[in-house]
């Protein structure tokens, strides 16, 4: 029996949903026009006024927003309400430049918490459940987002935050945590530690996990599910839009339902920015429908994915999105296979390396060569050459299973891969095609 947190909204007819979206969109556009001079200017430059926007059909008239716009307006140039109405901020990790600060009113927080509560309920969460939130708490949206969702869903919430693995395990076992929320790489690590400590899937009280905030493969999902004895659910979100819970997986585990009563999704061609027909793969663009403090119209996520137009067997009517493969601006095609640096990063982190690496692609005798350079770390290094080589091979195998093609792994000395203040040079493509 599929469970819903807000069945009337999650399962409403498409017709009603579209009507609701259109009403909200008109209001949201007026809200932005009246309160965000930066975007009003963009609309004026594009020759659009709020009167031109009557329904989602008119979305394409609106100018896009990107991370650059968010940086240009740092720290509060997109704030759409008086500061006295703001109750919280969150911020991105800032790895690719200046931090992005998102603002929330109490209504914004409530909406976000409800989105997360839908995700927890879809994963089987009820008042009977104990939810261990092992995402980091703080500026990062992961911890407090799922925390709020767990409260709304009426679960007993363990606000663990990240780190202290042994204590995490102690609470899972002693407090009989039934739902774990964290990054997939941390879930894999916890599973490994618990298995090492002698806890098998039958001893572990967990029944479900909600994992997101980084790229993970289907293989990794099956591994985590097997080792912890759980069902693992994907969750998607962006700090810019609220945080986790923009989209979430249901029991069918075939794509993530977008909370379409709050967020309108489009797929556009990342080069031409033209909207693409339903079912096409392209860049995901979101428009918030009822944000107060930080509304965003046509925000380019840079995530490449496909929206699934077919109805889902779970009964929800909200569109599903496929798991994003990565960011549009850094996808590589090697031996015909799409490779995203984020996937490589995930594997490195899972294997205990620093996320500092370089990908070198070349073409020799009409075949692509693919090398991943990784810095040696004290955690990996031992005096035994066989052990170091075994770790090198484990990493090679891990990359193969994530990417589907084989990479040559080269271990290099620490600090020899350039770190840059802005976006690091991750890819060197020497192919002359």
């Amino acid at each position: 029996m599929e469970r819903y947190f807000q069945q009337d909204l999650e399962c409403m007819s498409r017709e009603k949903l579209v009507k609701l979206q259109n009403e909200k969109l008109v209001k949201q556009v007026w809200h932005v026009w009246s309160n965000v001079p930066y975007y009003k200017k963009k609309m004026e430059e594009a020759g659009v006024t709020p009167d031109d926007i009557k329904s989602s059909e008119d979305l394409k008239k609106l100018p896009f927003m990107s991370k650059d716009d968010l940086r240009n307006t740092y720290p509060d140039g997109l704030l759409a309400v008086p500061k006295k109405d703001v109750v919280r901020i969150h911020s991105t990790s800032g790895t690719t430049g200046k931090r992005v600060v998102g603002y929330y009113t109490q209504n914004d927080i409530d909406m976000w918490d409800e989105c997360c509560a839908r995700a927890i309920t879809a994963a089987g969460g009820t008042e009977e459940d104990v939810v261990q939130v092992s995402y980091g708490y703080g500026l990062f949206t992961g911890g407090l987002g799922l925390h709020g969702g767990s409260h709304k869903a009426g679960c007993m919430t363990i606000p663990m935050s990240s780190g202290s693995t042994d204590r995490q395990i102690m609470f899972i076992m002693d407090l009989k945590a039934s739902i774990l929320c964290c990054t997939p790489s941390y879930a894999a690590y916890l599973a490994e530690r618990m298995n090492e400590m002698g806890y098998g899937p039958d001893d572990i009280p967990l029944k479900a996990g909600i994992f997101g905030a980084e790229a993970w493969s289907e293989e990794m999902r099956r591994d985590i599910e097997k080792n912890l004895g759980i069902k693992a659910f994907d969750i998607y979100g962006l700090t810019e839009l609220s945080g986790p819970g923009v989209a979430y997986e249901c029991s069918a585990q075939e794509g993530m339902h977008i909370n379409e009563d709050h967020f309108l999704a489009e797929i556009v061609d990342p080069d031409t920015l033209e909207p693409l027909p339903p079912g096409s793969q392209g860049e995901l663009v979101f428009t918030s429908l009822d944000r107060e403090a930080f509304p965003l119209l046509r925000y380019r996520t840079k995530d490449i994915c496909r929206l699934i137009p077919e109805p889902c067997s779970c009964g929800r009517t909200h569109l599903r999105m496929e798991k994003p493969k990565g960011r549009s601006d850094d996808m590589l095609i090697i031996r015909g296979v799409n490779v995203f640096p984020s996937q490589i990063e995930t594997v490195l982190i899972n294997h205990g390396y620093a996320a500092n690496y370089q990908i070198i692609v070349d073409r020799v005798n009409n075949t692509d060569t693919f090398e991943v350079k990784v810095e040696m770390t004290p955690e990996i290094f031992t005096d035994n050459i066989g052990e170091v080589e075994a770790k090198q091979k484990e990493l090679t195998d891990g990359l193969k299973s994530m990417l589907g093609i084989k990479a040559k792994v080269t271990l290099v000395a620490p600090k020899t891969i350039a770190r840059s203040e802005g976006k690091a040079v991750r890819v060197i493509d020497n192919r002359k095609i």
Binding site: M376, T377, P378, F381, T382, D383, N384, I385, V388, E389, T410, L411, V412, A413, P414, K415, T416
Partner: protein, 140 residues
């Protein structure tokens, strides 16, 4: 027991020189050295007069280095010297992971350095046979 320093080096010209220069600049004396290599990288294993300082200065210079305990024994530098020593290893079932040597200061002695599993237990077993491991790097 001696503290051995192991250092990760890329397998290309200049890397070993760079590492030895760091030690030279800090007045650290190398008493014994061995290199293990693959196509891409190598591991230099060193016995130095001051392993703790060596580990510190290498880390400061961005080398990945680790410290491992190894066993060192003095043998006479004559035919059969090593064989006699290893006979004790065989008797006590101590397996050698890798080993290298250092010639003594006077030409009559040599020092054999062994990496074994369960270093302390192995040392104990060999000690029971009357063998005494070197525990001061300045002896070498």
């Amino acid at each position: 027991m001696l503290n051995q320093i192991s250092v990760f080096l890329e397998n290309k010209p200049g890397t070993l020189q760079g590492m030895t220069k760091v030690l030279a600049d800090h007045g650290i004396d190398i008493r014994a050295l061995s290199l293990a290599e693959t196509k891409d990288f190598g591991i230099a294993r060193l016995i130095v007069d001051d392993p703790f300082s060596a580990a510190g200065v290498l880390k400061d210079a961005d080398y990945v280095a680790s410290m491992t305990q190894v066993l060192a024994f003095e043998i006479p530098d004559t035919p059969g010297g090593l064989s006699k020593l290893l006979a004790y290893f065989s008797e006590t079932g101590v397996n050698v992971e890798y080993m290298y040597s250092s010639l003594g200061k006077d030409a009559t002695q040599a020092y054999m350095i062994f990496r074994v599993h369960h270093t302390e237990k192995s040392e104990g077993a060999l000690k029971a046979k009357g063998l005494k491991a070197v525990d001061d790097p300045s002896v070498l």
